[in-house]
Structures are given as structure tokens and as C-alpha cells.
């Protein structure tokens, strides 16, 4: 510190530190003074203190000088001035130090003496102690062995088989051994208690086991028995002896009668007990009411007795216990005993009754299930029977429906045939109509040609008659031979020429008449004819002929005939003249007669004017000539017909007479007919009406009648169900009627396909409309209107087949339109898609034309 004071600043800084040091040193000096106990030391320290105080003053002075900025030299002067003080201080300190060191040497000597004395004392004490301890130990050992021996004796006396009483130890022993004895004794007490408890517990366990095993025995019954009565019976039989009971009864609640009634359903050694009771009735009823077990021990003497073979004994105890199920009494068990019930027995009873309710319920439930099962089995059988009945009914319905279907089928067949026949008839009728028209046309033509012919003939006759007249006149003149220039032979020739000419003229006249009639050119004038006069005229006319041929000739007029008849007299006369000429011609001998009478209504039946006149006159010309064979009788009225050629040659005549007569009769509204027998003669009859008003206008319906008759004839029903034609016959080659005239739309983007199909289908007579794609197809269908079938390709541009089919189907009018899809074979699922879209059928490409045509026929049929 001093070496550094030259540094004024450093000293300056260290000043407070030096002040601190001064204080510390002073304090230590004071402390030192107080610790010193020797006077000399105290004096020495006081001297040091004094010296240090002087030094401390100087030090403070120096610090102060430094602080006031006194120069270094001044300070050094102060420091040098005080050098003496400082040295004094050092001397005092050394003196003090020396004194102290001598003091310490003295103390050291004194301490060593004390230590030696102490060691000697200690050795003496130890020897004494060893002697004492050995004595005490010998005494203690002898005492402890005695006590332990007595303890061992008492422990050995313990009987481990019976810990209920354990010998006690003597507790009067003092000290620890007394404690041990007391502890042992208290242990013995607890062991004895424990043993007692264990014994009690074992007994309880035994009782519990007994109860358990017996109740298990009894409870086993619950699951073994299937009916309540057998359970009740066996329950009592089992339980009563176990309980040391001698009498037992089991009452089961029966609610079937409304009020709960407990009915005896099982018993043990029971003979005459009650059959049942209601709740609240008697003790047992009370037991039900209160839902608790009742034990009776003091049984009155008159109570029901227990019978043995030798006599009757009253029971000592009776127990009545309710059987509970869900807080309700479902049964009651009563047991009586001669000996009374052990508590275990009662516990057992309680135990088995606890589950008896459930057991009972189980059995009742089981019985109910069984009953239901039986019932359901019966119902199942009934159902089965019913279902079979139903099934047979359904089968019958099915067969009825099949029959119906068959009948429908038959009906349809009939219908088809009828339709076909109607169609046929229609066709026939059409044909007939056409034929009729044809006929009418022909008739008209014929009529016309016939009238042409007749006209021609009439003209011709006229033209012929003119030259013929010349021939006749000239031949007659030649025959007269007024100049007599002719030879006989020449005269004869002239006669032949004349008569032949006459014949020719007659023929021509007849032809003319006939022609006129046929040409409708003959005019008829109806006027009154006086039949009397008429008859006379006829008679006169042929009287000569009859005479010449030597034949009887009579004319007879009956009285009922009207005297005047309106008709064409000239024609009538001509008819009769013809008939009489004929009669005379073919009669070689016998008679010819004319009869005039009133015609009966029946005789007028064949007349065209039947019913239109009130008076009909019949002229009959009868002869006994050669007669006419039956098969020729119709023929003779035909123009230019005689029975055979030979006759003509024999009898001459033109063969026109009868024709003309018939035609005239018709003109007069009558008829002319013949009855004849070969070799016997003939009767020609003319029936004519009296027509004062002339010929009535009648409808010419002849042709229509004929047509109608013809239709009737052809429409005669065929047998209803003709045998189905044989398969081979049904084959109709090349018939395309189903397709003909139908319109088909083909949608396909392949033009070669379209071209082929179009060709084929057109050959079948179909109208073919083609489209490039679905949209085009829809468009074309709209334009076409009536479409019968569509052939739809599937893969097409713009709109494919599926979409096109869907769109076609979306139109209400096209729901039934057959659409056949043409699908590419390779694509699986195509078919389903087509059908889903609404196609009726599909054909895989490449298609066979026959297959396509077949399918089209099916869908157009």
C-alpha cells in the first residue's frame, strides 16, 4: 500500500479503503485487548494501540493532503516527519509478540502434566466395571432360562386339533417375559374365537350345502317335468320327505273361472285335504293374501291328522308357503310334519319356492307353446288342404283358360274361315255382278243383234216376197196354160214351181211373223172378240180339211166362259190356226177337237200376267196323232225345230208354227203349252187373259232374278270346318300378298345395301322409301305418311338407329309399327339395346334376304 501512494490519483482513489483498514485494525486491537488475560499483555497491547493511533492520524493527514491537492513533496515531508512514530509502532508490536510466545511455552508445560494424571484414573475405572458386569450377567442368565422353560412348557401343551381351548401362560412374570406371556394369551383368545367362528361357519356351510343340494334335486324337476300336474305331484313327493314332512299338498291358481281359485294339483300322502280354496279363505287363503310363508307350530288337536297304517297322528308343525311369480301368488305349497321343521328345511322350502314360480311359468309356457304348436300344426294342415284345393281350383282355372284359349283359337279359325268365305262370297258376288253386267250387255247386244237380225229378216222377207210373188203369179199363169202350148210334163213342172213357191211364201211369212215378234215390231191391238163368232169361224175354216182327211173335228165352247174377251183377234186366230194345222198335219186318223173354257186360277200360274186379269180363257186343241216324246216336248216350241228331221220330210211344214204360236200367246199375255203321249196324241193349250185395258206395263226383272239365283247357288254353305289342308298343300310358292302394296322405310347409310334391298322389295310389290340415317328416316316417314314397316340399320351417321327407333316410338301413332333392327353381328349387347329402344325384332348383318323377307312377312301378317 505504501509503495503505491506515489501515484496521487491511485492514492486518492484508495483513501476510503485505507480508512476502512484503519478501522478494522483498531477494532482487532480492541478485541485482542479483551482476550488477553495477563496484565503485561494488556499493557503491551495498549502501547501498540497508542502507537497505531498516532500512525492512523498521520495516515489520515496524508489522505487529507492528497485530497486537498497538496503537492507530492509536501506529503513526502509529512510522511518523513512521522517516520519515528512508525518505527515505535513496529517495536511495540515485536515486544508484544515476544511476550506472547513466552506465555505459550508456559501453558504447554502445564497441559502435558494434566494429561498423564487423567490416563491413570481411567484404567482404574475400566477394571472395576468389568468385574461388575460379569457378576450381573451370570445372575441374569440363570433367571431367563427358567422363564423360557416355563413358556415352552405351556406352548407344548397346545392341542392343534382343537384350538377351542388353549392353555394360558403365567402373566406374573416381570419385565419383557410378562409382556410376551400377555401377548401370547391374547393371541390364544383370538385363536379360540376364530376356531369357534370357523366351526360355526362350517356348520352353516354344511346346512347351506344341504339346502343347495336338495334344492338342486328339487329344482331339477322344473326342467324335467312337462306338465304342471306331474311337476306338482313330483315336487311334493320329493320335497316333503326332505323336509321331514309327512303330508304335503300343492295348490295351483286357476283363473279360468274368473275369481282366482287355488286348486289342488299334487300331494304327498294326502287323502282328504281340501281340493281348493280362494284367496283369503282360511289360513292358507291368508297366506295367499299376505304373500308370505306361514308356519304353525302349535296345532290344535282336532286338526287334520296324518294317517299311518296303524292310526292317525296330528302333525306338530305345518308350513304354508306361497309360490310367487312377479309379485303374484301363482300356487301354494303346504307341508305338515310330525316332528316339526328344522330351520334348514324351511330355508330349503324358501329356496326351492323362489324359483318354482319361474319353473311353473316355464312349464305353463311350454305347455302353451305345445298347445299352440299343435294348433298351428292343425292350421298348417288345414292350410295345406286349402292350398291344394286352391291349387286344383287354379289348375282348373288354368285349364278353363286353356279351353277358352282353344275355343278362342277355334273361334278365330272359324272367324277366319267365315271371313274367307265372306270374302269369297263377296268376290263371287262381284264376279256375278260383273257377269250379270256382262250378261246384260250381251243380252242387250244380243237383243240388238237379234232385232237387227229380225229387222233384216223382215226386210229380207219383204224383198223375197216381191220376186216370189212374180214366180207364183207366173207359175200360176203357166199352169193355167191359156194358150195350151205346154206339154203335160211342162204343166206338171209349173205346178211344182207354184206349190214350191207357195211353200216358200208360207215359210217367208212365218219367218216374217216370227221376226216381227222377236224384233218387237209386231203390233198387238186389244179389242173385243165375240167368242161365239170366233168359234164358228174356226170351225168353218177347218171343216173342209177334216172332211178331206176323214177325221172327226169338233169345236166346243163351254157355258162358263165369258162371251166377250178383249184380245188381239187376229193373233188369237193365227195361234189356233197354227195349232189346228199342226193337229191335222200329224193326225192320220181319229179326231181333232177344240175346246174353249174358262181357265182355272191354278192353270194361269205360269203366265206372265198372272193375277192381272179377272177372266182367263183356255183353248185346248186335242188330236189323236203321233204324239211327241217327252224329251222333245220343250224343243218343239223352238224355232225351226221339229221332233226329228224325218218328220219334217214326212209332214212338211216349216217348224215355225209352234214357235209363232208361243210368241203370240206371250204377246197376248198368255201361255202356250203341250201335253202329249207318243202314239196317243197331243193336246196344245193356249190360255190368254181378258185384257180390256190392253197389255199392262211390267218390269223386266228376268236378268236380275237370274243373277240372284246364280248367287244363291254359289253361296251355298260349305261344311263349317273343312279338314285342315295337308301341309304340302299349304305351300304356296312365290306368293307375296302379305308384302304387296305395303310401304317399307329402309334406313341405312350403306348405299349398296339400300340398292339391293330396294330391288328385292320392289320386286315383292312393296313401296320402298329409303333414308341415309335416323334423322333422314324420321323426315321421310313424315313425308310418306302411311308406313307399314321400318328396317333400321343401327350404326348410322347424324342419328343412329337406337335414337331413331326411340323417336319413332315416341310418336303415339307409331306404337304398333313393326320396326326390325339390322344389327352388326359382332357387337354384343346390340340386340338388347335395340329391343330396349323399342324394336320388335332384329336381324344380324350380313342378312340373308330370305330371312329378312320371312321376318317381314311375320311382322306384316
Amino acid at each position: 500500500m505504501i509503495t503505491e501512494y506515489g501515484d496521487a490519483e491511485g492514492a486518492n482513489i484508495q483513501a476510503p479503503q485505507a480508512a476502512g483498514d484503519q478501522l478494522g485494525i483498531s477494532q482487532r486491537l480492541v478485541e485482542l485487548e479483551t482476550t488477553l488475560n495477563r496484565n503485561k499483555s494488556k499493557v503491551l497491547v495498549a502501547q501498540v494501540q497508542e502507537a497505531y493511533q498516532e500512525y492512523a492520524l498521520m495516515e489520515s493527514d496524508i489522505y487529507n493532503q492528497m485530497a486537498t491537492g497538496t503537492s507530492r513533496d509536501d506529503i513526502r515531508a509529512i510522511y518523513q516527519g512521522k517516520m519515528l512514530i512508525r518505527n515505535q509502532l513496529f517495536e511495540k508490536i515485536d515486544e508484544f509478540k515476544e511476550y506472547q510466545e513466552t506465555l505459550m511455552g508456559e501453558a504447554m508445560k502445564e497441559a502435558t502434566g494434566t494429561y498423564d494424571n487423567l490416563v491413570m484414573g481411567l484404567i482404574g475405572l475400566v477394571v472395576l466395571a468389568i468385574v461388575l458386569i460379569t457378576g450381573v450377567m451370570l445372575w441374569v442368565i440363570r433367571d431367563t432360562v427358567g422363564t423360557v422353560n416355563s413358556f415352552t412348557e405351556s406352548i407344548k401343551k397346545v392341542d392343534y386339533d382343537d384350538l377351542s381351548s388353549i392353555p394360558r401362560m403365567d402373566e406374573d412374570v416381570k419385565g419383557e417375559f410378562g409382556e410376551i406371556a400377555r401377548a401370547y394369551n391374547s393371541m390364544a383368545v383370538s385363536i379360540e374365537e376364530l376356531t369357534e367362528k370357523e366351526k360355526k361357519y362350517n356348520e352353516e356351510m354344511q346346512e347351506q350345502n344341504w339346502i343347495q343340494s336338495n334344492s338342486v334335486e328339487v329344482v331339477k324337476l322344473y326342467s324335467r317335468e312337462v306338465t304342471v300336474s306331474s311337476l306338482a305331484e313330483n315336487f311334493m313327493k320329493k320335497l316333503t320327505p326332505i323336509m321331514d314332512g309327512n303330508l304335503g299338498a300343492f295348490y295351483l291358481k286357476d283363473e279360468s273361472t274368473g275369481k282366482p281359485y287355488f286348486k289342488k294339483v299334487g300331494s304327498y300322502a294326502d287323502e282328504a285335504g281340501r281340493d281348493g280354496f280362494v284367496a283369503g279363505e282360511g289360513m292358507i287363503g291368508q297366506c295367499v293374501e299376505e304373500k308370505r310363508t306361514v308356519v304353525m307350530n302349535d296345532i290344535p288337536a282336532n286338526y287334520k291328522t296324518i294317517s299311518t297304517g296303524l292310526g292317525n297322528v296330528p302333525p306338530k308343525s305345518i308350513v304354508m308357503a306361497p309360490v310367487m311369480l312377479k309379485d303374484e301368488v301363482v300356487a301354494v305349497v303346504e307341508v305338515a310334519s310330525l316332528s316339526g321343521f328344522a330351520p334348514a328345511s324351511l330355508k330349503l322350502l324358501e329356496n326351492v319356492l323362489e324359483t318354482l314360480g319361474i319353473g311353473l311359468a316355464n312349464i305353463i309356457g311350454r305347455m302353451e307353446v305345445e298347445r299352440l304348436l299343435l294348433e298351428s300344426q292343425a292350421q298348417t294342415e288345414e292350410l295345406q288342404a286349402q292350398s291344394e284345393e286352391l291349387q286344383s281350383q287354379s289348375e282348373e282355372l288354368q285349364s278353363q283358360s286353356e279351353e277358352l284359349q282353344m275355343q278362342t283359337e277355334e273361334l278365330r279359325m272359324m272367324n277366319e274361315q267365315l271371313e274367307e268365305r265372306t270374302h269369297d262370297a263377296e268376290l263371287k258376288s262381284e264376279e256375278l255382278q260383273a257377269a250379270k253386267e256382262d250378261l246384260e250387255q250381251k243380252a242387250r247386244e244380243l237383243e240388238q243383234s237379234s232385232s237387227y237380225k229380225s229387222e233384216f229378216l223382215a226386210n229380207m222377207s219383204h224383198e223375197l216376197r216381191t220376186p216370189l210373188n212374180s214366180i207364183l203369179l207366173l207359175s200360176e199363169m203357166l199352169l193355167d196354160d191359156e194358150e195350151h202350148g205346154l206339154s203335160e210334163e211342162q204343166k206338171e213342172f209349173s205346178k211344182v214351181i207354184h206349190s214350191s213357191g207357195q211353200d216358200l211364201l208360207n215359210l217367208i211369212n212365218d219367218i216374217l211373223d216370227l221376226s216381227k215378234v222377236e224384233a218387237g215390231k209386231l203390233e198387238v191391238s186389244f179389242e173385243e172378240v165375240f167368242l161365239d163368232e170366233f168359234t164358228e169361224r174356226i170351225e168353218r175354216q177347218f171343216a173342209q180339211v177334216a172332211k178331206n182327211k176323214n177325221i172327226d173335228f169338233t169345236v166346243e165352247k163351254s157355258d162358263d166362259v165369258t162371251p166377250i174377251i178383249y184380245t188381239d183377234e187376229q193373233r188369237l186366230q193365227q195361234i189356233l190356226k197354227n195349232l189346228l194345222s199342226n193337229a191335222f198335219k200329224f193326225t192320220e186318223k181319229g179326231s181333232v177337237s177344240v175346246k174353249i173354257e174358262k181357265a182355272s186360277e191354278k192353270e194361269t200360274l205360269g203366265c206372265p200376267l198372272k193375277g192381272q186379269s179377272d177372266a182367263w180363257v183356255k183353248f185346248s186343241v186335242r188330236d189323236s196323232g203321233i204324239g211327241i216324246p217327252k224329251d222333245k216336248q220343250r224343243m218343239i216350241f223352238e224355232a225351226f225345230q221339229q221332233v226329228d228331221g224325218a218328220i219334217m220330210r214326212k209332214y212338211g211344214g216349216t217348224g215355225l208354227g209352234l214357235s209363232i204360236s208361243r210368241e203370240f200367246a206371250l204377246l197376248l199375255g198368255g201361255i202356250c203349252k203341250v201335253e202329249s203321249k207318243e202314239g196317243v196324241g197331243s193336246t196344245f193349250t193356249v190360255i190368254i187373259p181378258n185384257l180390256p185395258d190392253g197389255y199392262p206395263a211390267i218390269v223386266d226383272m228376268e236378268v236380275n232374278d237370274q243373277v240372284a239365283a246364280a248367287i244363291e247357288q254359289t253361296a251355298e254353305p260349305k261344311p263349317l270346318l273343312p279338314e285342315p289342308p295337308q301341309a304340302e298343300e299349304e305351300i304356296i310358292v312365290g306368293n307375296t300378298t302379305v308384302l304387296t302394296g305395303k310401304t317399307v322405310v329402309i334406313a341405312d347409310d350403306d348405299h349398296r345395301n339400300i340398292f339391293t334391298l330396294k330391288n328385292v322389295l320392289q320386286k315383292e310389290g312393296m313401296n320402298v322409301v329409303t333414308a341415309d340415317n335416323g334423322a333422314d328416316c324420321l323426315e321421310k316417314m313424315k313425308e310418306t305418311g302411311q308406313v307399314d314397316i321400318v328396317l333400321m340399320d343401327i350404326m348410322m351417321p347424324v342419328m343412329d338407329g337406337y335414337e331413331a327407333i326411340r323417336q319413332i316410338r315416341s310418336n303415339e301413332g307409331n306404337k304398333e309399327l313393326p320396326i326390325i333392327a339390322l344389327t352388326a353381328k359382332a357387337m354384343k349387347g346390340d340386340r338388347e339395346k335395340c329391343l330396349d329402344a323399342g324394336a320388335n325384332d332384329y336381324i344380324s348383318k350380313p342378312m340373308k334376304l330370305d330371312q329378312l323377307l320371312s321376318a317381314m312377312r311375320v311382322w306384316l301378317s
Binding site: Q391, S392, S394, E395, E396, L397, Q398, S399, Q400, E402, E403, Q405, M406, E409, P724, A727, E730, I731, I732, V733, N735, T736, T737, V738, L739, R831, L835, N840, D841, Y842, I843, S844, D850, Q851, L852, L853, S854, A855, R857, V858, W859, S861
Partner: protein, 268 residues
């Protein structure tokens, strides 16, 4: 009513004696209905007079035989049945070296041809023989011709499609304007023969017997008899297909249901 029973009994006896066709165990209700219809058609008032007429007039006997044999059938009738055959039964028959199928009561053969189509599409045509039998020779002849009315073909096409056909139905027929003729190739697997379920016995062992809507015309006794015939005629594990309203009586025991909705049974 009792008299009617007797009269019917006698009529059926007469028919049996005259023709050999035994309808005595047919369902009486159905027989009675058809007898009554025939009576009306012949303008008769009692069954006995009909009996008299059939004895003396062969035509009436033929007619009544025709009446009694109900020939209602379709191709792929009840399409789901044929679908089930195709999807469930045929796969089980595929392993067999030879398959024999019997259509008992085939009527006009529509179902037998349907089966022929099915077999062909399933690739079994070369080893399958279909025996199609019926008691009625007339319908059998019709069946053999393979000719179908054109107007029915539309419905058959629908049935074919619904039965799971995997080609175009039109591949199997040719049609003209009147009829459709099934392709003769279908016939080559079918044997048509006369067989009367009532009077004739078993004639082969089959892997599949189809007898649809035949049993409904039989009474229970006759049904049992026919089931016995089927038992004798079915191979072990063979199938029996009945009509939708028919059921194999459980008491027979030899059959178990295979697909009860489609009335397919299998011999145990």
C-alpha cells in the same frame, strides 16, 4: 247330379272301349265342361244320348276326342321358364356325353322346337335327342310338319327374346304369306312319337322331362301315376319341368325343388 256322374262314367268307359283313350281319371270338371259343349254342338240334351251317338257315329267320337285333347301351346311359352332352363339347368347337363330330353304331351310341338332352338344355341345340338310325344296323332302330325301360323310368330318372337335367345328368331323360320315353316335342321334332333301318359309306360331314361300343363287335366290319382312314370324315366339328378300352376306333390319324395318359381324339380 248323381245321374250325371253315372252318365259321364259310362261315356268315358264307352270312349275308352271304342278308342283306347282313357279319360276316366281326368279332372271331371274339365271333362264335364267339354262334354256339355259337345252335347250342345250335337243338339243333345243328355250325356247318355251323346254316348249313344259316339257309339254309332264315328265322326262324333272323333270330335269328342278332339274336344278332350286340349292343345294349347306356344313357342317359348312362359319365357322365364325357358330362361331358367337355359341358365340353370342346361349348364348342369353340359357335361353329359349324351342328353335325352322328353317333352311329354308335346301337343303341336311348339315347346319341343323351342327346346331344339335352345339346345342349338347352347351348342349341344350334336349330342341331344329330344323325344316329343303326345297321345293325339293328329296334333303329332301337325307338330312334325313344323308349320306355324304366321300371325302367332310375332308373339313367339317376343317370347324368344324374353327367354334369352341369343340370335335372331327369324333365323329359325321361313315365312310366306300364309305360314311360317321352322327350319328343317331343328327337326333333326327331335323324335316325334305317340305316347299316352295314362296308359303307356316308361320308354327310356331321360335327363330332362318337360311336361307342362298336362297334369292339370288329371285327377290326383292319375297325377300320382304319371309322377311314378316320371320317376322311372328320370336319371339320377335328372330334371322335371312342370307348368306354372302345377306342383310336384311332396309326398312322392323322389323330387326336390330346384327352382320352385319356375316349377323345376330335380330327382334326388
Amino acid at each position: 247330379m248323381k245321374n250325371e256322374e253315372l252318365e259321364l262314367e259310362l261315356l268315358l268307359l264307352a270312349i275308352y272301349r271304342l278308342s283306347g283313350y282313357d279319360f276316366r281319371n281326368y279332372m271331371r270338371s274339365s271333362i264335364l265342361r267339354r262334354t256339355t259343349a259337345r252335347m250342345h254342338a250335337e243338339k243333345l240334351h243328355t250325356i247318355t244320348s251323346l254316348t249313344e251317338k259316339i257309339i254309332h257315329n264315328e265322326r262324333v267320337l272323333d270330335d269328342i276326342l278332339k274336344d278332350f285333347s286340349i292343345n294349347v301351346t306356344e313357342m317359348f311359352r312362359d319365357p322365364t321358364f325357358f330362361k331358367a332352363l337355359r341358365e340353370e339347368v342346361i349348364p348342369l347337363l353340359k357335361e353329359l356325353p349324351e342328353i335325352r330330353i322328353w317333352h311329354a304331351g308335346c301337343s303341336t310341338g311348339e315347346e319341343a322346337y323351342s327346346m331344339a332352338i335352345l339346345i342349338e344355341e347352347e351348342g349341344l345340338a350334336d349330342r341331344t335327342k329330344i323325344y316329343a310325344t303326345d297321345m293325339n296323332e293328329v296334333v303329332l302330325a301337325k307338330a312334325e310338319s313344323g308349320i306355324m301360323p304366321l300371325h302367332k310368330m310375332q308373339a313367339y318372337t317376343k317370347n324368344y327374346i324374353m327367354a334369352g335367345g341369343n340370335k335372331s328368331f327369324s333365323e329359325y323360320y321361313e315365312a310366306d304369306s300364309e305360314v311360317a315353316r321352322l327350319k328343317p335342321s331343328l327337326k333333326k334332333n327331335i323324335v316325334f312319337a305317340q305316347h299316352n301318359l295314362v296308359t303307356d309306360g316308361s320308354f327310356n331314361e331321360f335327363h330332362l322331362i318337360i311336361c307342362r300343363n298336362v297334369l292339370i287335366y288329371f285327377n290326383l290319382d292319375l297325377q300320382k301315376q304319371v309322377f311314378q312314370l316320371f320317376d322311372e324315366s328320370l336319371s339320377n339328378g335328372g330334371f322335371l319341368g312342370l307348368g306354372t300352376k302345377e306342383t310336384a306333390r311332396p309326398e312322392l319324395g323322389f323330387l326336390e325343388a330346384f327352382n320352385s318359381r319356375e316349377k323345376l324339380y330335380r330327382k334326388k
